[in-house]
């Protein structure tokens, strides 16, 4: 299942066909009405139920990936939305997370895409450049409370100066650590202040002390979810490069030469290589749930892990058995960000009603409901202000980091290649102990080839 080559082939085949057949729902589609990409002169805000005597009945479909808490919350928001606007019905369809992209892209090629789709931040550029989703600028300016959206999040949903999606939530990573192991080894407990992370050297020092080969205990897992497939590893790997002061690609998105192969980026890769291969404080093969099972003392994890630990390991308690600290810093402090958003597809016949629903879920009020239901980090400043617990430990570490130190992943239609290349690069130096210079050279070439193909 992990890094399934078959899945990749499938996706590649679909992508290729997608472009051949329908331009992924681009301009050539037969229905001009579906291309009403921007709202006409009438403001979307005026479309209240009382405005016209009997509004036409409209059904909009919304596709999203499976996720227990999010599904419950979106269902509740659909109910309240349909009560407020009885003429609009929202049909929710759930897709297993691992096959989400495959299904969406097949449906787009077949002109049967939903009106509203959930879209992960780094894939927005790719959908937008193929005109599969429509710009939302006018809606956003009319009643989307754009200025309330956290700046880094806004950057992650913008492609070529247009906003293509409305953010549901944000995401970040911190270090979870086994408090008892720290106390046993006499290591001072790290600060819980998001502005006072450990420096790399301090982290390495602690990891060395915590590592116990006899018991099979590793000090530090620096790779989010370990070396697996998907977006998780690169999501957690890029911050190491950013923390060292490096970047993945140039700000204009044209090349990674001079950025990924800068001395700063290389120093980060060298550090990670040594964690696995010289200091041997990091496991090349990560056991399942290594922190509560006592196999890893410091683990890089997401906010969702707090709830996951609570439900799966009720005896492993925050404050007693484990605590969290911000991601470490080197030349600077940098944390990953960006999560799922809602976008309107260009095949939608009801962009106006779709926006009304999107704004119901992601607007100022909806965002608070969304947070209460899911516990995912908010994408709006107003939500951070409205929820006291976001300003208290442990959530303040995530929230504080993501407000101040969040760094967006590269915004380019070539992002899928970048993600894969970064994942392979870290595998080569981490598992394979390859020379950083050679591995980086290979990665730069691969990324630049992909970037050159972007129009």
């Amino acid at each position: 299942m992990k890094a399934n080559p078959r899945n990749r082939i499938t996706l590649a085949a679909i992508l290729a066909l997608c472009m051949l057949i329908a331009g992924c729902g681009g301009g050539s589609g037969g229905k001009p009405s579906a291309q009403a990409s921007a709202p006409s002169s009438s403001s979307p805000a005026s479309a209240s139920p009382s405005a016209s005597a009997e509004p036409e009945k409209v059904e909009i479909t919304h596709w999203r990936y499976e996720n227990d808490n999010e599904t419950k919350t979106i269902r509740a928001l659909i109910d309240s939305f349909q009560k407020k606007y009885p003429h609009i019905t929202v049909k929710l369809e759930l897709i297993p997370a691992e096959q989400y992209e495959t299904k969406i892209r097949t449906a787009m090629a077949g002109q049967s895409a939903p009106d509203i789709m959930a879209v992960d931040a780094p894939t927005i550029a790719s959908y937008a450049s193929q005109e599969a989703i429509i710009p939302l600028d006018e809606y956003m300016n009319a009643d989307g409370d754009k200025d309330d959206i956290l700046k880094p999040v806004l950057g992650s949903i913008t492609y070529k100066d247009h906003i293509y999606a409305a953010p549901l939530q944000n995401h970040s990573l911190v270090l979870f650590y086994n408090k008892k192991m720290f106390e046993e080894k006499g290591i001072p407990l790290p600060s819980k202040n998001p502005d006072e992370p450990l420096a790399w050297e301090q982290l390495l020092d602690a990891a060395k002390k915590l590592t116990d080969p006899a018991k099979g205990v590793y000090g530090l897992n620096p790779i989010f979810k370990g070396f697996t497939g998907g977006e998780a590893p690169p999501y957690g790997e890029m911050p190491w490069i950013w923390q060292a002061g490096g970047e993945i690609i140039s700000p204009d998105g044209k090349t990674s030469r001079g950025y990924l192969d800068s001395s700063e980026s290389k120093s980060a890769l060298e550090f990670v290589r040594k964690l696995f291969n010289e200091y041997k404080v990091s496991p090349k093969e990560l056991p399942q749930d290594p922190l509560p099972n006592g196999k890893v003392a410091i683990d890089i994890q997401s906010p969702g892990y707090l709830n996951s630990l609570k439900s799966k390991y009720p005896d492993f308690k925050l404050g007693e058995d484990f605590d969290i600290m911000p991601l470490p810093k080197n030349a600077r402090q940098a944390t990953p960000m960006g999560s799922w958003n809602l976008a309107i597809t260009s095949q939608s016949k009801h962009p106006k009603e779709s926006w009304m629903f999107i704004n119901w879920v992601t607007g100022v009020d909806g965002a608070v409901e969304w947070y209460k239901g899911t516990g995912n980090l908010p994408a709006r400043q107003s939500t951070v202000d409205a929820i006291p617990e976001l300003n208290q430990y442990p959530l303040n570490v995530f929230a504080g980091q993501s407000v101040k130190y969040a760094h967006p992943r590269p915004v380019t239609p070539a992002y899928p290649v970048i993600s894969e290349t970064i994942r392979e690069l870290f595998e080569e130096i981490g598992i394979g102990n390859h020379s950083v210079d050679e591995a980086v050279e290979k990665a730069v070439k691969k990324i630049d080839t992909a970037l050159a193909q972007v129009k």
Binding site: A13, I21, N67, G216
Partner: protein
Amino acid sequence: MRVLRHSVHYAALSVIAVVTLFPIYWMFMSSLRAESEMFRYTELSWKVFLPVDWTLANFKDIFLDPEKPFTRYMINTFIMAGTVTAAGLLINSAAAFAFAKLRFPFKRLVLVVFLSTLAIPPEVVMVPQYLIIRDMHALNTFAGLIMPSIVWVFGIFMLTQFFADIPRDILDAARIDGSSWLRIYTRIVLPGAVPALITLGIITFTHQWDSLLWPLIIISDDTKQVVQAVISSYTSDQEKHWGKIVAAASASSLPILTVFLFLQKYYVRGVMMSGVKG
């Protein structure tokens, strides 16, 4: 000497049996553990092999979930796989009979074209197939799920091999006595092909029982989904529900194991007889 050779044989076979059966044993045992226990024990002791706290919680989670009752998906998959198997045996065996025994123009060419489609990966035809099913308005229906899977070139190929061994003389004798081809097919060819049909039936059924990508893409209505897609849905973008996954995998592999256990002797015979012969 003979005893020694036998014991070596048995030792080797036992090793292979353990290697084959252990993952299945592991899956069933894991499904009876609490999720927090599943990955706790890594040092060699009985706790690795047997649950410490036996529990049916995982099975309750999937079968008693009011929104996604697993029984419904088992039934859906039964309908889908059963229909495909029944219809497939009928149509594929008729086609195989035609290829093996009838004489018609361009037979070899048609057979070669048919067989060459085996080399095309299913992913490549998936999108065109999706478009056809959409134009037939069969998206999100059992019909759309079943139709494209019935004609199976592998099955035709296998049965063609099997039918090729039936002596032409028997068929000619029946022809002389005035039988139609249809009668020959139903009265002479099919009864003799039962082991091969059972073999193909098992292969088709397991193949369909395991299908994931196609159902996933054309079915949007949660109530019509099949087991594999549902198992896949127990992995969200944030975490894997290992308890549900192993319980569902155990429950969904039971029908396959049962079918196989009862029909195993035919299966072996069918495989042996349909082998390529000089």
